[in-house]
Symmetry: C2
């Protein structure tokens, strides 16, 4: 029998779980410090909630759940001809697996609008599913970790999210660069190019600049019927250099004719002022090529990269003014970011940044020497666990070698051996598995040693 799991999905072993929980626990702790609260939504949503929200390509990537019972009951015969896949799908499947956390969040806000306290500061850490072709680093089931505040237009929220990013990565020991842009600046650029209605084409193209370089971006723009003259306006903007202040001053001149553009610049200035007074230690860098391809950002655009490692963005987001509009609730502005758990995991692995303590499952294993010794050890185990120290006794009375191997494989740092000799003097032989030192101690001192570790 071949035993496997669906392609693109993963089992998480105890070791992987410990590392993942270290990341999730760190972000959750920071979110809570800032007053964000968790919500969770069901894995399955109605397909009417999901379809049409991710573009045509996205719709194809939705995992659809077959209706229960006799799902063919009310299907018209003509749909069963074998080439009516899409209409048939709609008849036999009403539910799909969540594709991201954004649309369910929007649905949640609208559905519970009478119970929600605005501004609503929520975080959500749950798996999402996409029927994408699996490849290195791309899975069909993966976790998203979103934090948003909805119902407030204040730029203090943006600043707070930058603080959160700064604190999370400083706790994780990862030096990061936070890139900042503003959709209104991009809008201003399109405006002075005389191409306001082509904003999407322009931002999609310039979003690629880091990956493919200026020349390819130019080609793409030309293929979209943006002419040379217009590209000439764009070019100096894309190759701006200097400090954030230098760039903003230059842009202020370039965009002097665009109200929208100037508003974008003012917003960035406000956020950067907060950054300064908040002692954010990460580098915050204005990057006008940052567009994140997403159509729904309306203000700040944020992206985070780990320094000194070749890896895509590990966190990103921005402000959106119409998230809940798709479900009929207008004029609710929000801003949020999403932490990429899998990439953060890869960065911490590559840089060996998981602390030893986060990987420890059991601090001390008691060797099982027999029935009498067991009772003696169980009393000690009770006292140790009451101190909050994780401890176990090997459940079988078997060879010492096998029991020590178990401790070794499970990375248990201490082993206690207590046989007749130790019992006679009411002591426990404590063995340090790292340096192989050992000493016989009474219970009180055993506790102290284990606590100190």
């Amino acid at each position: 029998m071949s035993i496997s799991i669906p392609k693109g999905t993963r089992d998480f072993s105890p070791d992987e779980m410990a590392k993942r929980n270290y990341i999730f626990d760190t972000v959750k702790k920071v979110f809570k410090l800032y007053g964000y609260q968790p919500i969770e939504t069901p894995a399955m949503e109605n397909l009417s909630t999901l379809t049409g929200k991710y573009g045509e390509e996205g719709d194809k990537l939705l995992f659809k759940v077959l209706n229960s019972g006799n799902f063919l009951q009310n299907v018209p015969v003509e749909l069963l001809s074998g080439d009516k896949v899409l209409p048939l799908t709609n008849k036999i499947s009403e539910k799909g697996l969540r594709y991201d956390l954004t649309v369910p969040f929007a649905r949640y806000v609208v559905q519970h609008r009478n119970d929600i306290i605005l501004p609503f500061k929520r975080y959500q850490i749950q798996p999402v599913w996409r029927a994408d072709r699996p490849q290195k680093g791309r899975y069909r089931e993966f976790f998203q970790c979103d934090v948003d505040v909805i119902g407030s237009e204040s730029l203090l929220n943006e600043a707070e999210l930058l603080q959160i990013i700064d604190l999370v990565f400083s706790k994780l020991g990862v030096e990061v660069t936070i890139k900042l842009n503003n959709r209104k600046i991009l809008g201003g650029i399109a405006e002075i190019m005389g191409q306001s209605d082509r904003l999407t084409d322009i931002t999609v193209a310039i979003d690629k600049i880091e990956k493919v370089g200026l020349d390819v971006v130019k080609e793409e723009l030309i293929s979209k019927n943006i002419n040379d003259e217009q590209i000439k306006i764009l070019e100096p903007i894309l190759s701006l250099s200097g400090s954030n202040e230098d760039k903003l001053n230059r842009m202020e001149e370039i965009l002097s004719e665009s109200k929208t553009g100037l508003r974008g610049i003012a917003e960035i200035r406000t956020i950067l002022n907060y950054v300064e007074s908040l002692n954010i230690s990460s580098t915050v860098e204005l990057d006008l090529s940052l567009a994140r391809g997403l159509n729904y950002y309306t203000g700040a655009i944020i992206e985070v990269k780990a320094q000194n490692i070749d890896m895509g963005s590990i966190c990103g987001g921005g402000r959106y003014d119409n998230l809940t509009g798709i479900f009929g609730l207008k004029n609710l502005s929000g801003v949020g970011i999403s932490f990429g758990a899998d990439r953060i995991y890869d960065v911490l692995s590559a840089k060996d940044l998981f602390p030893q303590s986060s990987l420890e499952a059991t601090r001390v294993l008691f060797v099982n020497m027999g029935a009498k010794e067991e009772i003696y050890c169980l009393q000690a185990l009770r006292a140790i666990r009451e101190e909050g120290i994780s401890a176990e006794i090997y459940p079988e009375q078997t060879k010492l070698k096998k029991q020590l191997e178990y401790a070794d494989k499970k990375n248990v740092p201490f082993v206690v051996i207590a046989g007749e000799e130790e019992m006679a003097v009411e002591k426990f032989l404590l063995k340090n598995m790292n340096n192989k030192s050992q000493k016989a101690l009474p219970l009180r001192q055993l506790l102290d040693e284990l606590k100190q570790y």
Copy 2:
């Protein structure tokens, strides 16, 4: 537009999440104290892994995921006639949502058998999905919370699980009765009735005794062709009374001819001896009618009920000798229990046992009085958060009344107001939202007050 989620599924609000996390964090902490480690498995499993494992009824309750792309491509035309639902399903769907955590755990153990350290102590807290008819307390998506040790036959494991039950519910403040039985005793009873091959019918019937009473159980047994004489053997067993020791002594006589039955009694005695020496404070009660309907238990059967509340079992489990046999790995004995998160939630709600601190999202809200005050407050917020205290500032400069309402609705116990007056003397006005008292404090004392709470 009607906004909803699939029937039988739930959104969890911040308040509900706080309560659920209080339960999950408590059990996780206890599991870890005993050296159990978490694993996670994918939401989708291959249908070949799931089908046939839960009986015919269970197969019908599996949520099946439609194959991606043109799922009709290789479907023979004759399956599309409209009445070939089952064979068609098998052609168009290869994956299903996990129905419980037991089968995925068995699959995990077999698939990763070369990496697992035996005995393998794992816990797993994940949602499962069943296409059951939704009703009060029964959902189509719900969380299971399983803890098992596999690869050890020692009864110390059973005792440890009883310790875990005892500690979890004592931490949660719930007084419980732990009911204990042993499948071998049930086997012995069937044996002396001369009905060893009818063990399932007998246990299914007696499992219902608490719900339906002795007479209905008798009727059911008669309908299964168990005769009066055989029922006479069973009757005194079902109405045994007295202490655990009394019951065991009486059963020892009744089962004196059954080796299996006597082994069951010996096992229970061993476990009860551990219970005594471990100072387990919950009532542990031998209950011979306990069978838990499940066919795969081979030794201990465990069930937990909250005292003084009318509610089904809130935790249960037992020993199984052949969990991984379904996937071709024989002779791996395990024992485990599962905590019923939803019912525990209901017990804690009914008894008002959620501690206030577990529901607190933010300890202090700073009122937003304007741009200058904001900067003054942000410095204080930084210091407060560095102490690990969750704090926020209202992001908008709006009416005081609205800001205080926000604090009130979010159950924030403290509010800080700092205007020009306070700034002039470098103080903060701390308002206790419960007793409405307030005092002006310098930052250092403000921190102390907030920490003390």
